[in-house]
């Protein structure tokens, strides 16, 4: 993953957060004399909150003790992990950083008591604590805000993202059009992680152009993100229905978004039930076209939203990063592949008396076997065909 590969190793490598980095380093260096024992980093997704903490740790050679978003974070588990960690000196005598990511995702019921346990830990800790959240102002985090140094980080500018993406492209030998990268940088709404992720999925062998972007535009994602949260994290069909009503993407796209992310949120029986709803939904979409009966749209949409919402017994408490449906990318890759066969077929089909489909099934795999094992023979065959 490119986002992992280009994780900053020191605070100076963090993009566009000079002021925050300065404050963070300052806090870390003067921790012993500091009144606040924790830093609370807040800012929109992909602005560099976690990266700052990781960069600090690697530059200062400190060990990170982390409760991440996928752990259970109720009172007991917070105390169990963090209490010893915040008191005892590390095994190798190195420095330690306590890191609690995405604390705004501490949910009311499952993580009961988690926030107050965390506040207790912060009061007593011997090591610096770092907290992150997209939204620091939710009311249940009040006790933590009071005892932490608040550092807010802002969105990255498109220009900053643009420059960084270009750097990655050069290092990764990704061919690109300036215009396309610029558009990508503008479209992610200041989210560098999203930008790098998008860059990665688009950087198949072909050059990244404006056309590639069209197939993969990250625009107006925010509303669908809310809908996904309602589907996966809540049980109220009423609020879901009104959110779906306001959605400005097609019902079919919504279904694809749900399908793309459902396995990150559900597992076991829940996942199975959800997939059954999605499968049914897809069938209704195709029935609309076959019978030209648009009333089916209701069922298609209902199964893929409310159906999936009601399929769950358990709600995963941690925040999940919902990604764009790969479907379009897959279709695009498929059509590129099919285009290749098509070209092959146009060239050879009257010589081989075979259709595209047959060429693809009956000839292509064997030709590529021969190409892999006997270059000379392959060349001879291709020459005779041309």
């Amino acid at each position: 993953m490119l986002t992992k590969k280009y994780q900053p190793n020191s605070l100076s490598e963090v993009i566009g957060q000079e002021l925050a980095c300065k404050k963070i380093l300052n806090f870390y260096k003067n921790f012993k004399n500091s009144r606040a024992k924790a830093v609370f980093l807040s800012g929109p997704p992909g602005c560099g909150k976690s990266s700052c903490v990781q960069a600090l740790a690697s530059q200062e050679n400190a060990e990170i003790i982390e409760i991440n978003a996928s752990d259970k974070r109720n009172k007991n588990s917070v105390l169990e992990i963090l209490e010893p960690a915040s008191q005892q000196v590390s095994l190798f005598g190195s420095n330690k950083i306590i890191f609690v990511d995405e604390i705004d995702a501490l949910s009311g019921t499952k993580d009961r008591g988690g926030v107050s346990a965390l506040a207790d830990i912060i009061k007593k800790t011997k090591f610096p604590v770092f907290l992150t959240a997209n939204d620091p102002w939710s009311s249940n985090l009040k006790s933590i805000r009071k005892i932490s140094e608040m550092i807010s980080m802002s969105k990255l500018s498109p220009q900053q993202i643009f420059n960084y993406l270009k750097k990655i492209c050069k290092k990764e030998n990704i061919a690109y059009e300036d215009k396309a990268i610029m558009k990508l940088a503008y479209s992610v709404g200041g989210d560098l992680r999203a930008a790098i992720n998008d860059l990665e999925v688009m950087s198949t062998k072909e050059k990244i152009t404006l056309d590639t972007l069209k197939l993969w535009g990250r625009e107006k994602d925010e509303i669908i993100q809310d809908v996904l949260k309602l589907i996966f994290k809540s049980r109220s069909s009423e609020s879901l229905n009104s959110a779906v009503f306001n959605l400005d993407i097609s019902a079919e796209d919504t279904m694809l978004w749900v399908e793309q992310n459902v396995s990150k949120e559900y597992s076991g029986e829940d996942l199975l039930k959800a997939y059954n709803c999605l499968s049914l939904s897809d069938i209704f979409f195709s029935r609309i076209m076959r019978w030209q009966h648009w009333r089916f749209l209701f069922y298609a949409s209902y199964f893929s939203t409310t159906g999936v919402q009601q399929a769950k017994e358990n709600i995963k408490s941690s925040l999940v990063y919902h990604t764009k449906p790969e479907f379009f990318l897959n279709m695009w890759k498929m059509s590129a592949k099919k285009k290749k066969y098509k070209e092959l077929a146009e060239k050879f089909s009257d010589k081989l008396h075979a259709s595209t489909k047959q060429l693809q099934k009956d000839f292509a795999p064997y030709l590529s076997f021969i190409e892999n094992h006997n270059k000379k023979m392959h060349e001879k065959i291709m020459n005779s065909l041309n």
Partner: protein
């Protein structure tokens, strides 16, 4: 320059060279001799001689100018009946060579046409009947509407018997200077499922790695050409690793350019070969059948296939 693809290099030149379909070829020979024939409908599985017979007819009728007198179309590539109609119109404008009163139009995979398109095709066949003859080929004649069937002489090609297919392979092996063990030949026959085109392609591919051919060499080709990763996809799902199997499946589909149906068929075939409890096998095959149906009914292959994998990952 002679083509180096063996399916072409060793393509039958005359109707007599088309093996295993003697009932059919003997009657076709009469058509050629009298230079008069009805429209023809060839049905039968892949690689048993439908295209080969058509080309042989053309060669015997028109000699060296056969290419100018046969129009090869295939219903799966020519998008829509209109394109077919236009091509037929252009082609039918000129006359065949002197002593043959008609030109040939070979429409492959004609069962890929919708019922409506077949109706249109029927009119086209009538309009140009004065100077063209159609040879339609299909896998299942039941998919061809009856008005077309009634206008054609229907020939049902049978799967090639084992000995005949193996004989064909032996002849090619001789000419190419290959040594092939009997077991290897049998293996090719099984792997090809009686499809001669496939069998010849397997043989040619093996010849790329060795001239002394045994089963092991064949195995190499077969496991390369058949999307073997499908096996892994199924195993991952059965072990409850849904996420990984889903990822793997979409990469296999893209790599091999499979359709959703292709994928389900492969999955089903792999399961048949799995060494697992038979009761479990029945459960899995039931799921396959259900999702093959849903794939036909539905529109999004990835959604249906992923749903199938989700079922697999919960099977106990």
């Amino acid at each position: 320059m002679a083509l180096e693809i063996w399916t072409e290099k060793y393509r039958p030149q005359k109707l007599d060279d088309v093996k295993g379909q003697e009932d059919i070829t003997s009657r076709l020979k009469n058509f050629v001799k009298s230079k008069s024939m009805p429209h023809l409908l060839f049905s039968g599985p892949a690689g048993v001689g439908k295209t080969a017979s058509s080309i042989a007819i053309a060669k015997e009728l028109y000699g060296d100018s056969w290419r100018d007198n046969i129009l090869e179309l295939n219903a799966s590539d020519e998008r829509g009946i209109d394109i077919i109609r236009n091509k037929v119109k252009d082609f039918a404008r000129s006359k065949a060579i002197e002593n043959v009163p008609f030109k040939l139009i070979y429409l492959d995979e004609s069962d890929a046409l919708t019922k409506e398109a077949q109706q249109a095709l029927r009119r086209t066949m009538e309009n140009y009947a004065s100077n063209t003859r159609f040879i339609l080929s299909c896998n299942y004649s039941s998919k061809i509407i009856s008005p077309i069937q009634s206008r054609c002489a229907v020939f049902r090609f049978k799967p090639l018997p084992k000995e005949i297919l193996i004989n064909i392979l032996k002849k090619i092996a001789d000419k190419e200077g290959l040594k092939v063990t009997d077991k290897a030949l049998e293996f090719i026959y099984t792997a090809s499922e009686g499809d001669c085109r496939k069998a010849e392609n397997i043989l040619q591919s093996v010849s790329a790695i060795t001239k002394d051919i045994d089963e092991k060499a064949i195995e190499k080709v077969v496991s390369f050409a058949e999307p073997a990763e499908i096996k892994e996809v199924v195993s991952l799902a059965l072990n409850g690793n849904f996420e990984e199997s889903k990822k793997k499946l979409s990469s296999v589909i893209i790599k091999h350019g499979l359709s959703g149906l292709d994928a389900v068929i492969q999955i089903q075939k792999q399961i048949m070969n799995f060494d697992i409890d038979e009761k479990l096998k029945v459960k899995l095959i039931k799921i396959c059948g259900e999702y093959e149906f849903r794939l036909v009914e539905g529109s999004n292959e990835f959604v249906q296939l992923n749903a199938l994998l989700a079922e697999f990952s919960m099977v106990k």
